[in-house]
């Protein structure tokens, strides 16, 4: 495997007396898709929020390519190449695909004083990106997000992360509320992102979706990582479910267990 892209070490997070994370360690390597699994309350959302800058950790360190970084806001995370895609929340539905893709980083044409967006360039890039991410339908880049399906919206968010060279794309429940065909589309977009050199963390309640797309599965339970090197090709869904629920006291063969679990 390549060198670690992101390392989270001994991350702790407490909300008052409730301890959501009790020293979680997560490593994501270059060019891989990691599936993050865990039951409700296991701490996966909190861990992701810490990494995406949505909430600060109580303690612990984050390293990107071996260098310690401080992530205090979503903007910090984006500046460090970490993009989080939540269901719907990252897009402005009234704006077009192209305007969403470039929001906050719109290219300017002509004299700077006039602050004029280069809409032709934005539309051209948007059209190219939508094709690269795997949208086969011909959707004009001037289409407002509100006219797109749930899967197409995910595609726009993934395309944006790809275009702005995000090293790590975090997808939090990207297949929620999507139909079968739409889900397959999103899984394809995620694979395409990995094939173009991006790493991904994929969180989904539907374990079958995770199995279809990820290179490695990490399981959280009670605020800790309890298994971090499950190979979806050699492990059964049932075995992973037993790790998630904690019903299996003895780790089944083929599932390496994290050192501190």
């Amino acid at each position: 495997m390549a060198q670690p892209l992101v390392e989270m070490r001994d991350i702790k997070k407490a909300y008052g007396k409730v301890r959501a994370l009790e020293g979680a360690d997560l490593t994501v390597y270059e060019n891989e898709i990691v599936g993050l699994l865990g039951d409700n309350g296991a701490g996966k959302s909190t861990l992701i929020k810490v990494l995406s800058g949505a909430v600060p950790a109580t303690s612990g360190d984050i390293y990107i390519r071996g260098e310690k970084v401080s992530i205090k806001s979503t903007a910090d995370a984006i500046a460090h190449g970490i993009e989080t895609i939540y269901q719907d929340s990252a897009l402005v539905t009234q704006l077009s695909i192209a305007r969403n893709l470039f929001l906050g980083r719109e290219p300017v044409k002509g004299a700077r004083f006039f602050d004029r967006m280069d809409q032709e360039a934005m539309n051209a890039v948007a059209r190219d990106l939508m094709a690269r991410v795997g949208i086969t339908k011909d959707i004009p880049p001037t289409t407002p997000i509100s006219s797109l399906s749930g899967g197409e919206r995910q595609a726009v968010a993934i395309a944006r992360a790809m275009h702005f060279e995000s090293d790590l794309i975090i997808l939090d429940e990207p297949t929620n509320n999507l139909g079968v065909a739409e889900t397959q589309g999103v899984l394809r977009f995620v694979r395409n992102a990995r094939d173009s050199g991006h790493s991904c963390i994929f969180i989904a309640h539907n374990i079958h979706h995770v199995f279809q797309v990820v290179d490695r599965i990490v399981v959280m339970r009670l605020g800790k990582i309890v298994a971090d090197d499950i190979d979806p090709k050699t492990t059964s869904v049932e075995a992973v479910e037993r790790v998630i629920t904690g019903l299996e006291e003895d780790t089944p063969p083929g599932i390496p267990v994290a050192a501190d679990a």
């Binding site: 979503t74 990252a90 897009l91 402005v92 305007r99 906050g104 006039f114 004029r116 809409q119």
Partner: protein, 327 residues
């Protein structure tokens, strides 16, 4: 090509107000041809552009998801301040004009600060500001209109509101200020990066902030713009009518908001149109003028305005639902 253009035109938020406006012109003209006489057109345009300046700035502010109830009070306060400074000999008229605009900018910045820093809804902040500003104007003048004067021949008066004739039409310079504001603000909203930020700030502020857009600064700028435009409009109106009444502009905030929403700008933010607002301004002012010309009692004006607002809201919400449905 025509079949694909027609449904797209109909789906535009400006289409409904446009059809209504044309319909109103036809009805009023057929009942009373004097409606389209040069004198009536000149009269309607005169005041329309003054309140219209406020509506144009309000369009951008409402697109960003906020609104400003203090514009009517600023419309009354700014000329009172300018003329008080001038009449008391403290400053020249030009310096008084600049001070009045700067004071309005400060009022806008204060509203903006309460909304963006203290996270208080703009409805409450600007309601409070309305009372503070109107109260100040009444207190300073003891509630009386400022003494009249004649600013004829002064350069500032000529630049702001000097009149001239084009054929049979008597027009004021303020019409050109209005047209300039329409062109500039339409450009800002549709072509500039700031326009993209304004729409994003109103549509999904969290997403905009996550992309590095400075939503607070964008909104702050729009509160300042809104107050300065209201002050500018109030000063133009006061020079034209040779009066500075501390009560003038009362109720304008609601008329301005009505103009903006009739034109198709969303009350909830995220979507705005300057062209639509121009139509909204025309509809409300022409309606006020037209129903009197066709003999409807002036007191019935609000019934028509209310009905137009309800009808246009139903139309816009229908269009929005179609949009959301992806058709």
């Amino acid at each position: 090509m025509i079949p694909s253009i027609v449904p797209r035109l109909i789906a535009k938020p400006e289409f409904g107000p446009f059809v209504l406006f044309i319909g109103m012109l036809a009805v009023f003209y057929s009942i009373n041809p004097a409606f389209l006489s040069p004198l009536n057109i000149s009269n309607t345009l005169t005041f329309m552009v003054e309140i219209g300046l406020i509506a144009l700035a309000m369009t951008l502010l409402m697109t960003s998801g906020e609104f400003d109830l203090s514009v009517g009070a600023v419309f009354g306060f700014a000329p009172v301040l300018m003329w008080t400074l001038f009449n008391s000999g403290v400053t020249s008229l030009e310096v008084g004009f600049v001070i009045a605009l700067l004071t309005a900018a400060l009022i806008g910045a204060t509203s903006g600060w309460f909304v963006t820093r203290l996270k208080i809804p703009s409805f409450l902040v600007t309601l409070g500001m309305l009372l503070v500003v109107r109260g100040t104007a009444l207190y300073v003048t003891s509630g009386f209109p400022q003494r009249t004067w004649s600013p004829d021949g002064r350069l500032l008066a000529d630049i702001l509101v000097g009149d001239f004739y084009i054929g049979p039409f008597r027009l004021y310079m303020s019409l050109f200020w209005f047209i300039a504001a329409v062109l500039i603000l339409h450009y800002v909203l549709t072509q500039s990066r700031v326009g993209n930020w304004i729409q994003a700030a109103g549509g999904n502020p969290q997403a905009a902030i996550a992309r590095g857009v400075n939503v607070a600064r964008t909104k702050m700028g729009l509160f300042i713009l809104s107050a300065v435009m209201a002050a500018f409009a109030g000063i133009i109106s006061s020079i034209r009518t040779l009066a500075a009444n501390p009560n003038s502009g009362t109720g304008y905030e609601l008329e301005v908001i009505a103009m903006v929403v009739i034109g198709g700008t969303a009350l909830t933010g995220g979507r705005g149109t300057i062209i639509g607002t121009v139509l909204g301004i025309l509809i409300l002012r022409v309606m006020r003028n037209g129903i009197i010309l066709i003999g409807v009692p002036g007191l019935a004006y609000n019934i028509f305005i209310g009905a137009i607002i309800l009808g246009m809201m139903a139309l816009h919400s229908g269009l929005e639902r179609r949009h959301q449905g992806g058709s």
